[in-house]
Amino acid sequence: MLFKISLSGVKARWKDYLVLFSGMIMASAIFYMFEAIALNNKFVLSTTVGQNAKAVFVFGSILLVMITLVYVFYANNFLMSMRKHDYGLFMMLGAKSKKISSLITLETLVVGLISTVVGTIVGVGLTQLVSGVLVNSLAIPLKYFTPFYLPAVWTTLLLFMVLFVIAGFMNARTFIKTPALQLLRSESLSDWKQPKTSRLVIQAILGIVLLAVGYYAMYDIRHLLVTAIPIGLITIVFGTYFVFNSFFVMLLQWLQRSSFNQKGINSFTIAQLKFRISDYTKILSVVSLLFALALGAITVGVGFQNDIPELANGSNAYAIVNTNPSSKMTKLIDQVDGKTVSNYQQKIAGKTVYYRIDQFKEKPIFYSSFVMKGKDAGTAKVEKSSTTQLANPNSEANRQFKMLQNPTIQGLRVRFVSDATFNQLGQSTNQLQLVRVHDLNGQYHALKAVHAQQKAEMGAQAEALGESFITYTTMKSMFASMEFMGIFLGIAFLAMLASCLMFKILSGADSDKIRFEMLNKIGTRKQTLRKSIRLQILGLFGLPAILGLIDVAFGLQMFIRSGLLYHAYGTFAYSAIGFVVLYLIYFGITVLIYQKIVIPETSTEK
């Protein structure tokens, strides 16, 4: 009988349960997404970053388990807040606490089981979707990666069920230990305390100082070397916590003293935000750090890719080289846009390759280098080479030029001679065709076809050509899996942190209902109430995001100054925009659901 009544309680609050389920489904889906990569050793170890990546994944898994723990804890609190009153009432009416606690344990487990199973299925779907999109748009071939990965399924199911069993027992304990009356009145208890100013000031200063130390450590990685990482991690974690616990609170206190506070319901909005921030310190800190990690993962992952064209151009100025191009090759080259083609005549006699000097004077060829330091760091420097340089076997120009020839003659000496001398040589004339391409990324598919033709004509020797496109493809396959993991994990983490925050905010909505009802009664317009909600939630979403963005902005210095990344800030701008857009979608959904819960329905129809 009690079971039936409790089931009807679920029906009556199906909207809240929907929020609970969607949150839990997201959590398990994301956990699955992560484990689908992390547990897939074959995939991870097949990548060039292999062993290092494995360590990152172990660390990431631990982090994710911790976040999941917090997440399940919040979700469970939300569930309890919905049920406390009902079950408290049953107990008042004489239901045995044993019976009630077995009911709540059962409910927790059922909610957990359903959401985990559905979540894992959703996770497989999401993995398929995200990896599919990434593989197509980034032209990354993924070996050994499958969206459905059984060990990940088991791990997800196991972890979540264990967590729910723990949660179930914890809930049962709550019901056995707490008197029925307190359960009934639990919602009306408020524990708002005004924090002491001196403590706030000390924490705020400490927070800022710790963050500054952390940022400096990352910036100064050249001196601190590996120690920069633990220093950064510790100081930034604690700095973030203190900044939320005090700095933002003080900022809001300052706003409260300004005349801004007395406009409309600003006083309410600011006070609510202040209350929320100190109540949410831990979760906001976690969200901020995760935001930074996720965005950092994407930025660094994509950043390596973005450096590839310049790195390739720095290896050689010419994307494609052909000796005596076939008609098929010529057609393929015609399809490459934005190119400059130069042709030179070549004769091979003994151990020397001869060229017409006039052709090189008329159309000097280029050699390139990759700038690693200074303000042009990370770009390819392309210079014209004189024939003297080209003829000097010790020069870089000579080395690069030789590599452009067919692999069989790359070891021979090159000489630049007058037309008369060249004509006197009896050997047959070859045509050396050099193609410069301005946009390697954009012409990737056309160039790939050209290179395939080279392989068809020359076999394995095609790989020994000095053309930059080969460097380009080699690096691309090297960094592709990193980019994939960066974006994939970035998105997974983002979804996780945003759902976590959304959940926490929504679980507080119920107790806000009465406040908004009161504000409505004393004559606050609906749009003013909506605006207040938007502002409050914006504060809760925005502050961790801002701090996270700053973290990444400084964190990138670590990669730049250690010479791993060059165009990091360009990438950062793009990835941050994409990231913030996704984050804003979560913000929008949270606002809509919150408004639906707390803004009183108008009963103004006649």
Binding site: W192, G264, I265, S267, F268, N520, G523, K526
Partner: protein, 250 residues
């Protein structure tokens, strides 16, 4: 001629009008409240008194009939106009105080003024004045959790008073108070009323009602009876209310 602050004509409210079982909560209620009056509306639960209060307070609209408050017909206002009207013309005191626990007493009291975008330089003195009227000037910087039930209700009363409303509505304002605090609050309301502010209380507590000048009894959606305190002492009036309730409820 006395000025009418509330005037209702033939108010009807039908819930679920288009369903199979429409429920008529108000069945044609007409009455007036004069400026400076202190009116009580009494009735058992389900009698329709909360529906009536919600309509008077522009939180709900009648199915038919009109409500005029301070000369304004409030039945045809848009939701925004209703909100603005409430913030300017009406004061509320609720049973459960409804103070915002994240705001200080002073900020709670100032809310209706901020809502009307009153200049911040005038907010402060008006909050002080309302607080002085209710004897809570020394509590202004405290948070609701630091206040007793009686103090909270006086803060709520100050909030209702601060915007100089045409009328203050009380919805069982003493419901959550012990007898000492209840008496104090009612005496304060009487004091406010003596300064010319009209008060309308909805209550089922005869003790609270005995502070009113006039009481209307509502039963099954209709006004059944009405009594005046006249020149009698509060105790005598209280006795009459009890008698009236005895006969009325049967």
């Amino acid at each position: 001629m006395t000025e009418e602050i509330v005037k209702t004509q033939n108010l009807r409210k039908i819930y679920d009008q288009h369903s199979e079982k429409p429920y008529e909560a108000l069945k044609g209620i007409s009455f007036t409240v004069d400026k400076g009056d202190f009116v009580g509306i009494m009735g058992a639960s389900g009698s329709g008194k909360t529906t009536l209060l919600n309509i008077l307070a522009t939180l709900d609209k009648p199915t038919s009939g009109t409500v005029e408050i301070d000369g304004n017909d409030v039945t045809d206002l848009t939701p925004n106009q209703m909100s603005d009207f409430r913030s300017k013309k009406l004061g509320f005191i609720f049973q459960d105080f409804n103070l915002l626990e994240t705001l200080t007493a002073s900020e709670n009291i100032a809310l209706p003024l901020s809502l009307q975008n009153t200049q911040s330089s005038t907010i402060e003195p008006r909050v002080q004045q309302a607080a002085a009227t209710l004897g809570i000037a020394d509590l202004l910087s405290k948070y609701p959790t630091q206040l007793s039930g009686g103090q909270k209700q006086r803060v709520a009363a100050a909030r209702a008073l601060v915007s100089n409303p045409s009328i203050i509505f009380g919805d069982e304002p003493t419901g959550a108070l012990d007898s000492t605090n209840a008496r104090e609050l009612l005496e304060t309301l009487t004091h406010i009323n003596e300064q010319g502010v009209s008060v309308l209380l909805v209550t089922h507590d005869p003790f609270s009602a005995s502070f009113c000048k006039r009481i209307m009894f509502i039963k099954d959606g209709k006004i059944g009876d009405e009594i005046q305190a006249g020149n009698r002492s509060r105790n005598e009036f209280y006795q009459e209310i009890l008698e009236k309730l005895g006969t009325f409820e049967q």
